[in-house]
């Protein structure tokens, strides 16, 4: 076996098999989290609501990557490209065609599904680190593609596009930020339920069979090519919707917003949250939003280094991320009950 092959083999093992029931939270816990998310905005400032909205949006993008990597075992460092396509679809539709913001979300989802599905075709021939590199290329190319001259009329080129923030409908007495938060929350919950059901369905089982052993899956009659590209399409569609919501929340899109750094952040969020554990997506998103702020609070000049140390500690102490912490907590609770 050559060195390259070994790396590929290791790459496959990096995604540990997660039993499908282990991918979600119990009903009780879910309801508590949901209640907390619903009540929270009433007590905090608009700025915190905005941060929570961004948390949900990044959580959604991490969830999408989790379906791809945790579900079907394929790596992607190109999520920022899908995120950008979603964001630009919404921005262009809203600003040039006056389409209602809510309608732009499904359109962005469909556009990104097609984009992801098509990209999944050539990516079929690649696996492990090679696939990661191919998607990396997509992420590095995207900001430049958005700057292309013939697209500039639509995309605004490097200057980007300013997006108008929607007001609360029906004269509801809430701020734009609060309305957008609840709007995002509804979208995220709907997609979360969809994702959980998808992974529990026949397709989900096919994804996981491919992740665990491609040859065995194919022998059992799973159409490997179809399901692999399908996973890419679904992941891209969800990322695109996250991008749309992000464009509305930030009110601005520009090529520099969607660089490879974003793709790596999302990847980081997935690992910190626990690969294959869907609720961990929110924890991962919290990590990529709040930990840089904490690092900056510790040292301005060395914020990058502090962030690196914090990340290292997390990976070293809890290599399976938030999932590991949750399992530990569950065990502790079980022991306490027995005593």
């Amino acid at each position: 076996m050559s060195a390259a092959e070994e790396v590929v083999a290791e790459g496959h093992q990096a995604v540990a098999a997660v039993p499908k029931r282990g991918m979600t939270l119990g009903t009780g816990t879910s309801l508590v989290v949901l209640a907390a998310l619903l009540i929270m905005p009433i007590f905090v400032k608009n700025f915190i609501i905005f941060q929570m909205t961004m948390l949900l949006i990044y959580g959604l993008a991490v969830l999408a990557l989790n379906i791809l990597t945790g579900g079907s075992g394929q790596f992607s460092l190109g999520q920022s490209a899908f995120y950008a396509v979603g964001a630009y679809t919404t921005a262009v539709l809203m600003e040039h065609f006056n389409v209602n913001y809510a309608l732009t979300l499904p359109i962005a989802g469909v556009v990104c599904f097609a984009f992801g599905f098509l990209f999944g075709q050539p990516a079929l021939r690649l696996s492990g680190v090679y696939l990661a590199l191919a998607t990396f290329a997509l992420a590095t190319a995207m900001p430049q593609l958005l700057k292309l001259n013939f697209l500039e009329h639509w995309t605004g080129g490097v200057q980007g596009l300013v997006v108008t923030k929607p007001d609360a409908p029906f004269g509801l007495p809430m701020s734009q930020d609060m309305w957008l938060y609840y709007f995002t929350l509804v979208v995220v919950i709907a997609i979360y339920i969809f994702a959980v059901n998808l992974l529990r369905s026949r397709s989900g089982r096919a994804f996981m069979a491919i992740r665990d052993n491609e040859i065995a899956a194919s022998a059992m009659g799973v159409d490997v090519a179809l399901y692999k590209t399908l996973a890419f399409g679904v992941s891209a569609a969800i990322t695109g919707i996250a991008g749309s919501l992000g464009a509305i929340a930030v009110q601005f899109v520009a090529p520099d917003s969607y660089t490879i750094t974003l793709a790596i952040s999302l990847f980081l969020g997935m690992v910190v949250g626990g690969v294959g554990w869907l609720p961990g997506s929110i924890v991962g998103a919290a990590f990529i939003i709040f930990v840089p702020n904490i690092a900056e609070g510790i040292s301005k000049g060395l914020s990058g280094a502090v962030f690196g140390v914090l990340l290292f500690l997390v990976i070293y102490l809890v290599p399976h991320g938030a999932r590991q912490v949750a399992i530990l907590g569950q065990k502790l609770a079980g022991k306490l009950r027995k005593n």
């Binding site: 608009n46 905005f50 430049q144 700057k147 300013v162 601005f252 520009a254 917003s257 974003l262």
Partner: protein, 409 residues
């Protein structure tokens, strides 16, 4: 046209009335969020990490300068509380940090936030909230737009005004020039190119023989230089960032292309561009400047330079004195201190903008002699003049008069 002037007259009359009424009421103190009897809270956003982290030194210099001001007793008895956040040059992060500054830290205004993309991202928010986005650290021309964005103001000369100055000089001294342009394919490069075309006016089409662009991802721009040489142009307009500027100067030397070479101010640093490219190849290159070069011997006995060096030694000893960023940070902080002094005890957001728009012949010590900061209700471009300089031996030599050009957004 007459309707416009009528409106302008009415507006200036209203302003005069406001000015008169405030001078009467100046005895009483007026505050907006972020200002008190003892403190002025100022927000700032800088790329301390990420691809543009080299600019982070500007924010650190400003922090050091405000420390100096506070130790000397503050401004009209008020200490400056300078809150600076990192946005890693990412627009979404800039929005988050701007909202944190305005809504959570409750600053009086945001000062010298850096980067065209980041400032574009927060401009609409800042103007909707009516919080000043003062002296932004970018050379894009669009910040001078008081009609649409009355809460946003730039500081440094805009990219367009710089190439307009080159164009003015060319029209006067070399009207039959054949110009070859190399520019970076982004907002910065395109802004410069637009200034050149506007400056040349109707002669732009006949004078510019080739416009060649490059991407920052290209490892080298040698092939572009060879292409430009082949046009037989006798003027080379070099609109490139430091790394590529050094490559261009070096390649010109290697292939023996000796046109009149204009190098944009962005890359005029002796330390990071000219020296790596080689002094021989850079002889007679022309550029424009508005700040004193710290490596230039002619300023050794200049009082402004001495004050700067003293400040750096005492308050920011770890900072690089020869870095252009420290000079920018020092000078823009001085401009702000002047604005706050003018505000007196009326520290409202509206008055901060009003005073920022009424700077008259203000001199930050590190500006070149003859360059003054002037603003007005319709002129939100504080520095709009530059002086040409030519590279001789191992340093820049200033020549000609200070030339001004006001480019509107």
């Amino acid at each position: 046209m007459s309707a416009v002037t009528g409106k302008l007259a009415a507006a200036s009359l209203a302003l005069a009335l406001v000015a008169a009424s405030t001078s009467i009421a100046s005895a009483q103190k007026k505050y907006d969020t972020g200002a008190t009897d003892t403190e002025i809270k100022i927000g700032n956003i800088m790329p301390y990490s990420g691809p543009a982290s080299a600019y982070g030194i500007i924010g650190r210099t400003e922090a050091a300068y405000f420390k100096k001001i506070n130790e000397e007793g503050g401004i009209n008895g008020r200490k400056i509380n300078f809150i600076s956040y990192d946005d890693a040059y990412s627009p979404p992060k800039a929005v988050e940090q701007a909202r944190k500054l305005v809504e959570s830290d409750e600053v009086l205004f945001v000062f010298n936030s850096l980067g065209t993309p980041s400032n574009s991202a927060i401009q609409k928010y800042m103007n909707a909230k009516k919080v000043p986005q003062l002296f932004v650290a970018t050379g894009a021309t669009k910040w001078n737009d008081p009609q649409n964005f009355p809460w946003t103001m730039g500081w440094q000369p805009s990219y367009q005004s710089e190439t307009q100055i080159y164009a003015k000089w060319l029209l006067k001294n070399k009207p039959d020039a054949k110009i070859a342009v190399l520019f970076q394919n982004d907002d910065y490069g395109k802004d410069y190119l637009k200034g050149l075309k506007d400056g040349l006016g109707s002669k732009a089409a006949s004078m510019i023989v080739m416009e060649e662009s490059y991407e920052t991802s290209e490892p080298t721009i040698d092939n572009h230089i060879i292409k430009l040489k082949a046009t037989g142009a006798d003027v080379f307009m070099n609109i490139t960032t430091p790394k590529f500027a050094a490559q261009a100067i070096k390649k010109n030397g290697e292939i023996g292309w000796k046109p009149l070479h204009f190098l944009n101010n962005v890359s005029a640093s002796v330390g990071s561009v000219i020296k790596p490219a080689g002094f021989d190849a850079a002889q007679d290159v022309v550029s424009a400047a508005y700040l004193k070069d710290t490596t230039d011997k002619q300023w050794d006995n200049d009082p402004g330079m001495k004050a700067y060096v003293e400040f750096m030694t005492k308050y920011f000893p770890e900072g690089d004195k020869t870095d252009n960023g420290t000079v920018v940070g020092y000078s823009v902080a001085q401009t702000l201190v002047q604005v706050l002094k003018q505000c007196g005890d009326d520290l409202t957001r509206a008055n901060v903008m009003k005073q920022a728009a009424s700077l008259k012949d203000f001199r930050a010590e590190m500006l070149l002699p003859g360059i003054k900061i002037n603003t007005g209700p319709t002129d939100f471009a504080p520095i709009s003049s530059l002086q040409l300089q030519r590279f001789k031996g191992e340093r820049w030599e200033l020549f000609g008069d200070v030339i001004s050009a006001d480019a509107g957004g």
